[in-house]
Structures are given as C-alpha cells and as structure tokens.
C-alpha cells in the first residue's frame, strides 16, 4: 500500500515519474460520431458535489499533486465552453427559459467541452479534471421533473470517467460554508426556481436534500466514490490521492 504513494510528494532529488497504465474507455451510450475510445489514453477524473462541498479546493490540490508528480492536466467544468457559456450565463440571469431549454443549453455546453477539450486532452495522454460532470446536470433535471430516460439518452455522448468522486456534505454544513464564503445563498443552488418555498433558507435545505437523494439513486447506476466531505481538506485530499493512484496504476478504485 505505502509503496504506491511514494510519488505523492516529489523529493528534491530526482524522482521517477510513473507512467500510468492504460485503461479501457467507453461511452455511456452511442458516444460521438467518429471517436474511437481506445485512442483515449489519458484519464478522466470527476469531482461532484454541491457548492460548498469543497470541490474546487480539492481539485486545486489534486492538480498540484498530479503536476508535481509529472502528469499533464487539463481542467473543465460546467458553463465553460467557448460556444455557449456567455449565453447560458445571460439566460440564467434572466431566468426566463423553460427548464428543458436550459437543460439542452447545458448539454450543448457539455458537448462542446467534451469534443473540444476533454477528448483531445485524453488523446494526448493528459489527466482531465472535471469540476462537475453530467451527474449534476442529470440531478438538477430530475429534481425538476424531467424524465430520466430523456436525459440519459442525451448524455449517451458522455465518456465514462476513470473515477467519480462525490463529496457528500450535509445541507447544514453547506449553508454555513456558503454563507461564510459569499454572505448569501445562491438562487439556483437553492432551487428557488422550483417554488419549494419563498424563504431562500428553507428552499435551500429542501432542494439540497432532494439533490442528495437523487445522487444516492444515481450512485447505484454510476458507481461514485462517495467521500465524506465533512472531514478536513487534508483528510479528504489524502483519500482522493490514494484512489487516483490506484487509477493511475490501472486498478479500479473502490
């Protein structure tokens, strides 16, 4: 066990960079026209969790460690495509799109990053770190009553990641972390568009626990590696690195 982590903290003296084992990649559904999953030699590492679950902090540290260990990385996340990110932001601000439209807009954003960033990086043998992936999009849609089969069909284009971390944090902790960071709760993360309550705090609590229930359901199908996000940053990071190491050495994480 201990041996595997020797490359965790590069020493000042020459440390050997470990060449990751190849893993078989596949798509959830039809995939994309003309893409051969066997050519995707990099790894796809996904971190899921609500705002305030510690996603970004963990990703920053994971990138530091990976790059220090000699692996090239690329980061993606929701709403970061060249194609529609600005328009999506505008649409969210105005809040006049139907949920289905917004859902397709997000799917466009995802597909653009998948084809133009994720897949090329993986072909080039990079480690792709995704700050949220299709699961958040699916969960949000499902919370809004959109048919799961419809969403599943759309995301048949998505690549199955090498590992998906789900940072599980209680709604109470999320509230605290969001308020101490932004001094307020976000409209969308509180699910205010759902009309669960006119009180944003109450809406946040209800919405986040709904999302957690949906994630537990998705967990069965998509096999997330659920991490207890209530622990310290360092503890969570340690567990993530252990699991990523196992991905790099070619054995599947638990």
């Amino acid at each position: 066990m201990e041996k595997r982590f020797r490359h965790r903290r590069p020493r000042s003296r020459l440390s050997r960079v470990i060449v990751p084992r190849l893993s078989q990649h596949r798509f959830y559904g039809h995939g994309l026209p003309g893409v051969d999953p066997d050519k995707l030699v990099g790894k796809l590492i996904v971190v899921e969790g609500a705002d305030g679950s510690g996603r970004s902090t963990q990703i920053v540290q994971l990138v530091d460690w990976l790059e220090g260990s000699g692996h090239a990385t690329v980061q993606v996340g929701l709403k970061r495509s060249t194609l529609v990110s600005e328009e999506l932001e505008q649409a969210k601000q105005g809040n006049i799109l139907s949920h289905r439209t917004l859902s397709l807009f997000y799917a466009t954003d995802f597909a653009d990053q998948l084809e133009n960033t994720i897949l090329p990086a993986m072909k080039a043998g990079r480690m792709v770190l995704a700050d949220r992936y299709i699961y958040t999009l699916m969960a949000r849609d499902m919370a809004r009553g959109i048919d799961a089969a419809w969403i599943k069909n759309i995301y048949g284009i998505a690549l199955v990641p090498d590992v998906v971390f789900y940072l599980s944090v209680t709604a109470e902790t999320l509230v605290e972390r969001n308020i101490s960071k932004n001094a307020k709760l976000d409209y969308w993360e509180s699910g205010m568009d759902l009309g669960l309550s006119r009180d944003i705090f109450e809406s946040f609590m209800k919405y986040q626990s709904q999302i957690q229930t949906i994630f537990r359901k998705l967990q069965r199908t998509y096999k997330f590696s659920t991490l207890d996000g209530e622990r310290s940053v360092a503890q969570v990071q340690k567990e993530m690195r252990e699991k990523v190491s196992r991905v790099l050495s070619g054995s599947q994480p638990v």
Binding site: G29, H30, L32, P33, G34, T82, L83, V84, E86, E87, Q90, A91, I96, L97, S98, R100, T101, L104, F105, A107, T108, A111, D112, E115, N116, A149, W150, N153, I154, G156, I157
Partner: protein, 253 residues
C-alpha cells in the same frame, strides 16, 4: 412523442412544411398564412432556428465554424425547445393554427446526415408532439439545387455541409449533402404521414393542392378570431415576413 396536438386534446392545430432548401416551401407557407389571415383565422407563423436567446450562440458557432455534428444538433434542439415551450404550446392552447416552416423532421434529416445516431436525435425531440399536418414539398433534386445555386452563388460553410468533408468544392458538397437529406426525408415520409406536394408544379397549382387538403382535413371555421380589426383584414402584417425567406431559411441550415 407519437401523438399529434389534436390527439393530445389541444384546441389549436400545428401545420408544418418540410422540404429541401429551394423546394419553394417557404413561399407556399407564406401564401397559406395570407389565405388564413384573409379568412380571419387565428394564425401564427413560426420559423426554424429563430429563438432570440439561442440565436447569438448559434450564429457565433456558425460564423467561427465551431460546431460539430453533436453541438450543431444540440444547439438547434435548444432553440426548438425554447420556441416550443414558450411560443408553440401557448398558441396551440389558445386555439391558434400554427404554421411552422420546418419542424423536428428537419433535425431528424440533417443531424443523421451529419452522423448523429437516429435514436439519439429522436430521443432528444421526443418531448414534442407531432404536427397535425405535415406537407412535404418534393422537388427534383436538380430543381431545388438550381433555385439556390442560381440565385445566390455564395454558399455558407454549414449550409453546404462543408463540415462533413464531402468535397472541397462547396457546390459539389452542397449537392451531395442535399441529396442525402432528400433520402432521409423520403425514408420518413410514410412513417410520419407526409402529405407530399409536387414542388415541380407552378406555385398556384401547389397552393391549390395545399388549400384543398387543409380545407378537407381541418374544420377551419373553428379557428375564426374573435378580435379581428378592420385594419388586420385589409393588410395582413408583413413585418415578420422576408421576401427571400427561402434564402433566409437556407442560411439557417
């Protein structure tokens, strides 16, 4: 969805026209709209790829040639969903006759020619009800090609199907691309009960066919507006109508 708006109990009716660029379908739907307005019917015209919110992203993607078959498909679906839920459905609930210049079949044909799996594309659009009537304007391939190629020699990248790498020559690429789309349309014709109109005939003859079919299939008196004003009768609005709409529509390709 495999039900029409009538089957779903909507008071309104949706009539769609489909066909290749240059088949003359936009002219026919325009004349249809004028005829209905003249009779004082509640009629509304809606065009493919015209939702304001999505337009900016679509045109950016097209200008910079950023679109892949998948994003091309998804961005048009986004546009359609927006128009469907905020425009078409409310109008159909309000008892309008909605005339659609292109409907989901355009996506079925184009996206599959671009290489997207048919089940995937159909799955995306399965929230939409089927039109109550679909007219397919079937012109000989060379007739529609000539109409477009004579009128406007500058072909845009996506409309010529250049993204498919069929040919380095835009005209040749356009010919092959349109030919494949025609095949797709023909293969859907029976499944979706297309009312096939011979688009090689004179404009007036086609319009007769269309009007007769509609008069037989719809009880038009049910859609008479209660709020008709004398000015609306005299001069139907031409504001949203562009004369060269075949070319406009063609840009949307």
């Amino acid at each position: 969805m495999d039900k029409t708006f009538a089957e779903l109990g909507y008071p309104g009716r949706l009539i769609a026209v489909e066909g290749l660029d240059g088949s003359g379908k936009s002219t026919q739907i325009y004349l249809l709209k004028r005829w209905m307005e003249w009779q004082g019917l509640k009629v509304f015209f809606s065009e493919w790829n015209s939702s304001d919110l999505v337009k900016s992203a679509t045109s950016k993607g097209k200008k910079r040639e950023l679109l892949t078959p998948t994003t091309f498909s998804l961005i048009h679906a986004t546009d359609f969903a927006d128009r469907y839920e905020r425009q078409l459905v409310p109008l159909l609930r309000a008892g309008y006759v909605v005339l659609c210049d292109r409907y989901i079949f355009t996506a079925f044909a184009r996206d599959t020619v671009r290489g997207c799996p048919m089940e995937w594309v159909r799955g995306i659009y399965n929230f939409a009800a089927l039109p109550d009537l679909v007219f397919f304007f079937k012109a000989d391939l060379h007739v529609s090609l000539n109409r477009i190629l004579e009128g406007r020699p500058m072909l845009k990248y996506f409309e010529a199907g250049m993204d498919l790498g069929l040919s380095a020559d835009p005209y040749e690429s356009f010919r092959i691309f349109q030919g494949r789309i025609l095949e797709q349309y023909l293969s859907m014709s029976t499944e979706f009960d297309f009312l096939v109109v011979n688009a090689n005939e004179p404009i007036e003859a086609q319009q007769n066919t269309v009007r007769e079919l509609i008069a037989n299939k719809l009880e038009l008196s049910r859609y008479v507006t209660h709020t008709v004003t004398p000015s609306a009768r005299k001069a139907p609005s031409t504001k949203t109508w562009k004369k060269d709409s075949d070319i406009e529509d063609h840009e949307a390709a």
